[in-house]
């Protein structure tokens, strides 16, 4: 129990931190977009790097969410087999999927690392804002590393309890319900 709650607290802390970063990037993208429109239309002075940077902020925002999505099994999937299985089998299938996902994400993270390493070695920058490319391509690396961590936590958690199994409704349904309150 103690170990479980320790893991849980750490996981919650990670989610909160990532939420803050991801939401911050999302909000910044909204603000920059609005500032660019206002600057161009009202003052004839557009923000030159606005399109490039807003796109990058959203990409980072997406990638930082992958821990949460993986941990809770919220990634989009076609649930064809699951409803046909008894509850106990569902848990083992979910465990197998989480473990396999962790391994796959580890493999993709390794390849994403190679990409980041290469662009860093070439000291390349983006065309407009001249941001070093490793901060750009690093987003995909972050997504896989976080998915790997999330998958590991999910596998471990499924071994000790079935709490994460019937975690919740699909994300869009959750949002819809929250939004209509």
């Amino acid at each position: 129990m103690g170990e479980g709650s320790m893991m849980q607290r750490l996981s919650t802390f990670i989610i909160q931190t990532l939420d803050l970063l991801s939401g911050g990037a999302f909000a910044a993208a909204l603000l920059i977009n609005a500032a660019n429109v206002a600057g161009r239309y009202l003052f004839h002075s557009p923000i030159f790097w606005a399109e490039e940077v807003t796109t990058l902020l959203i990409i980072w925002s997406v990638c930082l969410m992958s821990y949460r999505l993986t941990l809770r099994g919220e990634n989009l999937s076609a649930e064809i087999l699951k409803p046909l299985l008894p509850h106990s089998a569902q848990r083992w299938v979910a465990f197998g999927l989480a473990a396999a996902g962790t391994a796959l994400c580890g493999y993709f993270a390794f390849n994403a690392y190679l990409v980041v390493e290469l662009v860093a070695r070439f000291s390349q920058v983006t065309n407009v804002a001249e941001i070093p490319k490793q901060y750009v391509n690093g987003s995909i690396l972050a997504a896989f590393v976080l998915a790997c961590l999330g998958g590991m936590t999910r596998s471990l958690s499924l071994l000790v309890s079935d709490k994460l199994l019937n975690a919740s409704d699909p994300v869009e349904v959750q949002e819809a319900l929250a939004g209509s309150k």
Binding site: R40, H44, P46, W49, E51, F122, T126, N127, K133
Partner: protein, 311 residues
């Protein structure tokens, strides 16, 4: 041993497509089946940025596209697009074919995984606008879409206009709705985008050219035997004059098509254009001389331009 060469570019029905088609045909013929070619026009393998990365990672073997997209790889790639350096397109051709210039320019990307095989141009620079741009004054206070480079921005600002970045996917809508008043590019690009359905005017400033590169992946290049490497270089060099002929005819047709579709082609009054160009020249030389790296490349370009000038 057999090699496969995926040739990729972002567009269709233009000089870039012509380049991959003709290069592939030459390579297939000369290599006698040792190099198999596959054509991927229309950005089938991704945007310009993706295809350039693809060269570096060895997922794409050959790419052709605007040199402007390589400034993130190395800022020196912008020299082909400088305004007020060349007398005309043929002068640009002589400069880009100059052995000293080629030696430097085509090797700019080698240590970053990009082997330059050749260069050509997409056409002269010009503006497509919603307003009649028959004088420099007409551009004052207008919003013009340009590529994000400092040089392009500076050029437009010297005309009294605001340089506006708009994503390529939205240029047509932005022009149609007046989000921008015009865009800088090249006449063949204007007609292939069918901009004559949207705006009525071209101003043929022809202050410079849009430089193009033909590149292969260094990873792939290093697997080729020497005779094939030599052959690829020779074929690219031999293809270049054909591409210049094609593009200049394409450009002449583009101006003609524009007028046939009910548009007007304007030229700035000679003294105004001369004054604008000398201002632009001073400004861009200053910009590039700011950085020792680009200054050096600029010197190579200017030397070649002097050697090949007619006056």
């Amino acid at each position: 041993q057999e090699f496969t060469m995926k040739l990729a570019t972002a567009t269709v029905n233009d000089v870039q497509t012509e380049a991959i088609k003709r290069f592939a045909a030459r390579v297939e013929a000369r290599s006698e089946g040792r190099i198999k070619t596959e054509l991927y026009p229309a950005a089938q393998l991704g945007s310009n940025a993706r295809m350039i990365e693809g060269l570096q990672f060895g997922t794409v073997e050959f790419y052709t596209g605007p040199a402007a997209y390589l400034v993130g790889v190395d800022s020196r790639f912008q020299v082909t697009d400088l305004p007020a350096i060349f007398e005309d397109a043929r002068h640009a051709q002589r400069v880009f074919s100059d052995p000293t210039f080629r030696e430097t320019f085509l090797n700019l990307g080698t240590d970053k995984g990009l082997v330059g095989l050749g260069t050509y141009i997409y056409g002269n620079t010009a503006f497509a606008t919603a307003f009649p741009g028959d004088t420099v004054e007409a551009f004052n206070g207008k919003k013009l879409r340009v590529l994000a480079s400092k040089v392009e921005r500076k050029g437009v600002e010297l005309m009294g206009a605001t340089a506006v970045p708009i994503d390529f996917s939205e240029v047509a809508t932005a022009l149609q709705q007046g989000t921008v008043d015009g865009m800088k590019s090249s006449p063949p690009a204007f007609t292939s985008l069918k901009l004559y359905d949207i705006v009525k005017h071209i101003t043929a400033t022809e202050d410079g050219v849009m430089g193009e590169v033909m590149m292969v992946s260094k990873i792939w290049w290093d697997t080729l035997p020497e005779d094939l490497q030599t052959m690829l270089r020779e074929e690219a060099t031999a293809l270049e004059p054909e591409l210049y002929d094609y593009v200049l005819e394409d450009q002449a047709n583009a101006y003609k098509t524009w007028e046939e579709m009910g548009g007007t082609v304007h030229y700035l009054p000679k003294e105004e254009r001369d004054a604008l160009l000398s201002e632009m020249r001073v400004a861009v030389l200053e910009l590039l001389n700011d950085d020792p790296k680009t200054a050096e490349m600029l010197a190579v370009l200017l030397d070649a331009a002097d050697r090949t000038a007619t006056q």
